[in-house]
Symmetry: C2
Subunit: 110 residues, 2 copies
């Protein structure tokens, strides 16, 4: 059993204002999917994009918008989001604190 | 994109003191894994058990213990837990408020 605090993982800023921590990965023995914790800085957003894999997301804290074919929807703590494969999606931090969320994807993806 | 609050799902109490909400499932179009939100009442615990699938867990709030072959480890908000397939595991609420966590499993499992 691997037990840790998500802050133990150094964040990576691949996109400006977006900090990613890969907290459960194949290196831990995960056979099917991985867990990441994201923090989006105030004023930043994950640009709209799509890919042939899904996202399962749980918002931990903060205020934002999820943008997709359904339109624009407010998101906040305890919001659950399922993004289907190939569905365009964009997350925007509209608040004054980091928008933090857990995002899980199947393995073999980035 | 399915967007909801986890409280929108009615909890199921399959084990006394353990409330489960299946918030992302195959019915939503999830192709690989499902997301559940659990609340363990103060004084309750998930009995020790094992199964041939993994758990990926993120503690949302509360205080507890994770018991397994590694021994007994305190868990609390922002703790990340990976339980490997077939690994015995038990979660105990040792606090005065519900122990709430997200737990994801591969599909075809219960």
């Amino acid at each position: 059993m691997k037990i840790s605090n998500y802050h133990d993982v150094e964040p990576v800023e691949e996109i400006e204002g977006i900090f990613k921590r890969e907290v459960i990965t194949a290196d831990d023995g995960a056979p099917n999917f991985s867990m990441r914790v994201f923090e989006i800085k105030p004023g930043s957003s994950v640009p709209s994009h799509s890919h042939p894999w899904e996202h399962e997301v749980f918002i931990l804290s903060g205020q934002g918008m999820a943008v997709g074919k359904q339109g624009t929807t407010p998101i906040s703590q305890e919001t659950v989001i399922f993004v289907a494969p190939d569905e365009p999606h964009c997350f925007v931090n509209t608040g004054n604190e980091p928008l933090r969320f857990i995002c899980l994807i199947p393995l073999q993806q980035k």
